[in-house]
Amino acid sequence: MSDKYRFIITLLCASLLLSGCEKDPLSQKGKITLPEKTSAPAAKAEAADGTAQQIAASGSPAASDPGVKEVAWDDLIPADWRPDPDLVFKYNNGDIDDKDPRIIALKIKIDKLVKLAPVNNTLNGKQIKIPGFVVPIEGDGKEISEFLLVPYHGACIHVPPPPANQIVFVRSKDGKASARKMMETVWITGTMKVEKVKNDVAEAGYTLYADKIESYE
């Protein structure tokens, strides 16, 4: 009889696990370095250096898969681009409420900067691998074939949305590779395409044609 009970208990545990709280492995491991609140230019420069090193490292023939470059979210911002750190600090600080007119004024200012926030054209056509969270767009109830990849959990609701160069629109090639769950943390390998700005209307942005989608853990 004990075998049967074990079977039931395992089953219940499995279902609990499935419905359990969603973890945030990316931010736990500190993989993602969003612009720090206290981002002094020095710190930013350091990050840029790190990026450069990373590119150099993965470009070396010693890398496991020489064609694929592992990319961090910082790499999606051109290395030489800086928003006004003071403005960003005030905005991100959280002292001012989301509905406050001051934050709206700040938002307008930053929006202008963000609109300038260009994309990193060097990534165009490259095979890359990037981690992120899934925000579903198209799917069939089992699998999600098109989604937005964002650098942090809950990017869709609580905070002002991430800028255009911190969102990647992912399409799986012929629907083979697909994500399963909202806010699932995944590694995506695929070909990056950078859409250029043609007019005021369309924003520059990244589209990633995914070959492979793997769970982050």
Binding site: L12, P160, A164, M182, E203
Partner: protein, 419 residues
């Protein structure tokens, strides 16, 4: 395998109790698979209903509620959104197309949806399928209507037929807009979505039938004829929701943020995919509870089977003794009893699958017309086969209980039985 043959014949000899046991296992299997089938099919049905729409805009409420009433016609809107707000949203530079939706009226229990002809151009279902007409074309005039396939089928409507729209969303309505009948100008192809159960009319039509209404009911002495109403300004004052398509999917969050922080009116914009996922997450708990219950029912079925075999063992000790006398070893007795249990489980499973399909075929039209859920009848999925495999494994496992018992009896009793 002569022993299995013997097990089979032994079962046949006790076919009444055996068939009852078989039935209980079959029912539990049908329940288990039915719950699983309903879960996956309802998900697929929901997910297939909306595609290609980037944002849904409505009055501020909950994401799931907005999704349910705007797309699935389940429940009611908390509030409308003003025409002015809709106009300023559709003029946002990132918005490529927009389709307004006005709900609140019905025809014979089917919801009436006011919209624009753009709806037929932009609405997509089941991964980029466009709406197609079996007959006729989109509405153009004020008093023209396009029917979903199910509406036309159930009410046997043809092109050119005049229909009367009623106020309210129930099956029986006391207020009818019977002075302004609509003419059917188009019938849509079946989609397997709530579109099939919807009567589509122009926004101007919705406005026209309510034009002589004041404060929520028709005013005596103020009735305006259909012809006169059509000449008045029929710009709607409000709509229930709007579907938006964007120029770039990258700008989804930006437009959503703009709408959610729209300062003239409390509005809510949702990503349909995200809201659907939230719905799954919410229903997931209930689904798991149902699955757990049906697993327990299966276990009850198996326990019942074991009980029946165990109680029969005492009566069959003579039978075992005879088998032993003709040369059966205790191992043979074990295989005999286990074979009975396993074949009961196996045939129970097969019967359960047959029962499930019979049930599906029988209730499919009912589920579609009652709940708007389209349950497609397919071969069992890999997951369902896994469930069946687990069932057989569990059946084999529990068959050891009576098996060992019989084995021990036959060892202890030998040829002489002392009861």
């Amino acid at each position: 395998m002569p022993i299995l043959n013997l097990a089979f014949k032994s079962l046949w000899n006790r076919r009444f109790t055996a068939s009852l046991t078989l039935l209980s296992i079959a029912l539990s299997v049908a329940l288990l698979l039915g719950v699983e089938r309903l879960r996956t099919e309802s998900r697929a049905s929901f997910a297939n209903t909306i595609s290609g729409t980037d944002l849904i805009v409505g009055a501020r409420s909950g994401a799931i509620q907005l999704l349910l009433y705007s797309v699935f016609r389940i429940g009611n809107a908390t509030n409308n959104i003003s025409w002015q707000s809709y106009q300023s949203i559709r003029q946002h530079p990132n918005v490529k197309w927009s389709v307004p939706i006005a709900l609140g009226d019905s025809h014979q229990g089917f919801r009436v949806m006011g919209t624009t002809p753009d709806y037929f151009r932009h609405y997509r279902f089941a991964r980029d399928h466009q709406l197609r007409f079996t007959d006729g074309q989109p509405f153009a005039g004020v008093y023209e209507a396009v029917l979903g396939a199910e509406v036309a089928d159930q009410l046997k409507y043809k092109l050119g037929q005049e229909i009367v729209i009623a106020h309210g969303a129930g099956r029986v309505n006391l207020f009818k807009h019977d002075n302004k009948p609509f003419t059917v100008v188009g019938i849509l192809q079946r989609t397997g979505t709530p579109v099939d159960r919807t009567v589509h009319v122009g926004l101007a039509g919705i406005e026209a039938i309510h034009i002589d209404w004041q404060g929520g009911s028709p005013m005596p002495g103020m009735s305006i004829t259909a012809k006169k109403a059509a000449q008045l300004d029929l710009t709607p004052k409000s709509i229930t929701a709007a579907l938006l398509g964007l120029n770039s999917r990258i700008s989804t969050f930006k437009v959503q943020h703009y709408i959610n922080n729209y300062r003239q009116e409390p509005l809510l914009a949702i990503l349909p995919g995200v809201a659907l996922q939230e719905l799954w997450d919410m229903m997931g708990v209930a689904e798991k509870a149902l699955l757990a219950i049906s697993i327990f029912v299966v276990l009850v079925g198996l326990t019942g089977m074991v009980t029946v075999i165990l109680t029969s063992l005492n009566e069959r000790r003579r039978e075992m003794a005879i088998l032993r006398s003709v040369g059966a070893r205790p191992g043979h007795i074990l295989v005999l009893i286990m074979g009975e249990a396993i074949s009961l489980t196996l045939f129970g499973a097969i019967l359960g699958v047959i029962l499930l399909y019979a049930l599906l075929i029988g209730t499919q039209p009912l589920i579609e017309s009652r709940f708007g859920l389209f349950i497609s009848i397919d071969w069992p999925s890999a997951y369902e086969f896994t469930l069946l495999g687990l069932l057989l494994a569990a059946g084999t496992l529990v068959s050891f209980i009576p098996g060992f018992r019989a084995y021990r009896y036959s060892l202890a009793d030998g040829m002489t039985i002392r009861i």
